[in-house]
Subunit: 495 residues, 2 copies
């Protein structure tokens, strides 16, 4: 740290004391990478103490996407998180939302920064940002995510920096910070294009505290891909090979893969396949699975909003950043750029995302259980599904030992409409819905993706509609949610 | 016509005889403009005659969007339309779809040409195209629409031209034909940018027939805007003025307005307002209402997929095309460009579209009655709503004398999700949903947009959910479609 900044150094507790009731806090952090790790815990304590004294204390929390327990968890458990956007996946936050303590605005990740800059949700009053470096003239070098951090730094009145030495300088230079205008172009023509600066320039007078840390992102390893994930990955790769053979897929389009096991299984399988050409990722979240591709010498570039590595992954990256030149293989962007409609369309991204449930006519629910209870949020799935060249929605056909079918007559909440979905994949098979009318889609989804134990019930629903409803998309509104009703009443969609 | 083409001239009946059972026909035409007007009637007769003899006869019909009775109506009534895409609004076609005779693929208008070129629906075997001029070296000058016509001309094996003198040469030069690659940029940076050619270049050997006509597009005049339309228009213009004052709206963003009365009322009011600055339209359908803006000297440019003028409007345009220079004020584009995600986002379009029904949490149904019965189709509403800078969904709060509420607890079909809708407007008022969590949205929509006679029922639904459901988006699946069920059982959502 530059000596001129020493005067702003203080403890996490002192920094938290600068935050008052009612503040809107914009934090760095995207899918568990680069969120603040010490000030929030002190803020939670402060809030709890003040509330124990009978004072009101609540804050709004804006992030990039999901963040670690050290921020989301502590603030939710303290009962002081009054509002939250644009994405979360923490059990305690989810519970707080569903019991009505926390108000949650679930947004397309690419939309959130613009809405904030336009002032349609209140601008943050304070930003708390995990950073590798800060200079006296106000250059902030971010850690493992672009997220919404630049917008929070630029719009907040006061800034608290958690100056984190964990990544050393291995992420300095990885960022490409570009803030789009309300209108105008985002001039990325290749996944690896750089169009901005590698730091965020702020007014240094806004920095009110610097708290020194040396803490990793506390991301746990995913379980190894199971049989279902491997089966889904195999169907996808087989289909891509088929499309390429048919001449319907340019060789050089980049990939986006959602978070989790299936995405990891796809990349792992690609890495192992000797016939696989090198790939570029224009994605949202870069996970450990990228290392397989990198070590197989098949990674052209990985562009994303975050490097969401596990603890092992972080050490691996740091060890190889300079010695093997891995630093040059990654670009971190603000999420409004990693998920930008214009760029995704232009590059022809192949997109893979997870569905919570899908219905027989091709609609996808990514967010709500039984129509009301939020799980995580739509995240970037809509940004990619709506604008990609080729899009997959993936899900195991059943959950909870068969008590839940991922394929239902009608989704209880729609996040992706029939007009935007292309390919459904479960461990049972793959359904290419492009160019099919609703009834044909229904037959194909039941045959290819539904679990055999649910096929008769789904077929029965379709057959009833074919007899009693208009024959474009023969729904029966009085029976459309019978699967969900049985689940709520008996604990199983089977009844 | 050039003498070298004379050998291909024949009657409509002779041309129709070239079309066989099972053919896929791609026709010109978008929102009632520039569709073929004489060959389809002969084809319908041929189909009926063959079927009367016990032979099988059916065709698939691809268009740009909705087209006139002379094509959609005659083919549907003849019972030979087996498949239809990507949009229709004709009673006979709709009935044919809902009784299962015609298979219908309802697509985002911007997506259809690409899906066809990629081969995910069969390519047309024959194109029938309304044209102003054709040259011996295969330059086709289109009439009043860009639509999907270039793609049909380029992918069909055989081409039938209806050479139509109605517009004379007043539309020659108006077109800007650009076919985007699977990936790559659409370099429009201003609504008036020209990036292509003013004709479609084909292989002249593919022309199998030229049929001479002199027929207008048979578009009827809309009824004059009623009180509801004027009220909705007034709310929108008041809101835009407010946004501009707040500095949240750049002055030079273009407008898209859907088809019909409200759109006309908005443009008519703009034209009359002395404080209104000149506007550019980057829209889908250019209607007669543009003349008001043009005559008030407030039109910078109108870019669209069609000039869908009424009979009077067509005469007016032709009379003024050269004498008043109106020709230079219009650009006609393929619908994949007029509705292009990348361009709409880049230009910052202000978008106004009609909702069939909307629910209290912000989802919009544009297409289906009671979940099953198709009305028209999603058209371009999703292309614009998803990518615009500011988007309105407009609907009168009730229909059929109050028997139907446009605001319902849960839409029976989702075309636009809560993540993509911004502003709802009815004749009752305007609800700005940006940055609001679901429960706040519900309260605002009930208060501002629902008809007073339905507010208690909607409030009751919300209150019940607030007591019994998870508190993110408190739906009650067993009651979510009670409005629709009552409508189906009693003829009124009121019961």
């Amino acid at each position: 740290m530059h000596p001129n900044l020493k005067s702003k150094v203080m403890s996490a507790q002192e920094a938290a004391a600068l935050i008052n009731n009612g503040e809107v806090i914009g934090v760095s952090g995207f899918t568990g990478a680069g969120y603040p790790k010490v000030v929030p815990a002190e803020l939670a304590k402060r809030g709890e103490a003040l509330r124990a004294q009978g004072q009101e204390f609540g804050i709004s929390l804006y992030t990039g996407a999901s963040i670690g327990d050290e921020c989301d968890g502590v603030l939710a458990r303290a009962g002081i998180m009054k509002m939250r956007l644009p994405y979360q996946s923490h059990t305690d936050v989810r519970n707080s939302i569903n019991k009505g303590t926390t108000e949650y605005i679930d947004m397309h990740l690419s939309h959130s920064a613009r809405l904030i800059r336009m002032g349609f949700v209140p601008k943050p009053t304070v930003a708390i940002v995990d950073a590798c470096e800060v200079t006296p003239d106000g250059k902030i070098y971010l850690t493992g995510n672009g997220g919404n951090t630049p917008t929070y730094l630029l719009t907040a009145e006061r800034i608290i920096i958690e100056l984190n030495t964990h990544y050393g300088d291995t992420l300095i230079g990885s960022h490409d910070i570009f803030i789009p205008e309300l209108k105008g172009t985002v001039p990325i023509h290749f996944a690896g294009d750089r169009i901005g600066k590698d730091y965020v320039q702020i007014d240094p007078a806004k920095i009110v505290a610097i708290v020194e840390t040396n803490l990793p992102d506390s991301l746990k390893a995913f379980a190894a891909p199971d049989d279902d994930s491997n089966a889904i990955a195999a169907y996808i790769l087989e289909f891509l090979a088929h499309e390429r053979k048919k001449g319907r897929l340019p060789a050089d389009v980049p990939y986006q893969s959602g978070v989790g096991n299936v995405a990891n299984a796809v990349l792992a399988t690609m890495a192992k396949d000797p016939t696989q050409a090198p790939v570029a990722l224009y994605t949202e979240v870069i996970q450990d699975s990228v290392f397989d591709i990198l070590e197989a010498d098949k990674l052209i570039i990985a562009s994303g909003a975050s490097v969401s590595y596990t603890l092992d992954g972080q050490e691996k990256y740091k060890a190889n950043a300079y010695t093997k030149g891995w630093k040059n293989k990654f670009i971190l962007r603000p999420q409004e750029i990693s998920n930008n409609a214009e760029v995704i369309r232009r590059l022809g991204v192949i997109s893979m995302n997870t569905a919570l449930e899908a219905d027989i006519f091709g609609h996808v629910n990514s967010t709500h259980v039984n129509g009301s209870r939020i799980m995580n949020g739509i995240g970037g799935s809509g940004d990619f599904a709506r604008n990609c060249l080729l899009g997959f929605f993936m899900t195991p056909s059943i959950a909870k030992g068969g008590k839940i079918s991922a394929i239902v007559p009608m989704v209880s909440h729609t996040d992706h409409t029939e007009h935007d979905t292309m390919i459904f994949v479960s461990e049972q098979g793959l359904a290419d819905l492009r160019g099919l009318a609703p009834i044909k889609r229904a037959r194909l989804i039941i045959e290819k993706c539904a679990h055999p134990s649910y096929r008769p019930l789904l077929q029965e629903y379709l057959d009833y509609g074919l007899k009693h409803s208009a024959l474009h998309a023969p729904h029966t509104l009085s029976k459309a949610f019978d699967f969900h009703k049985r689940l709520m009443e008996t604990g199983s969609m089977m009844g």
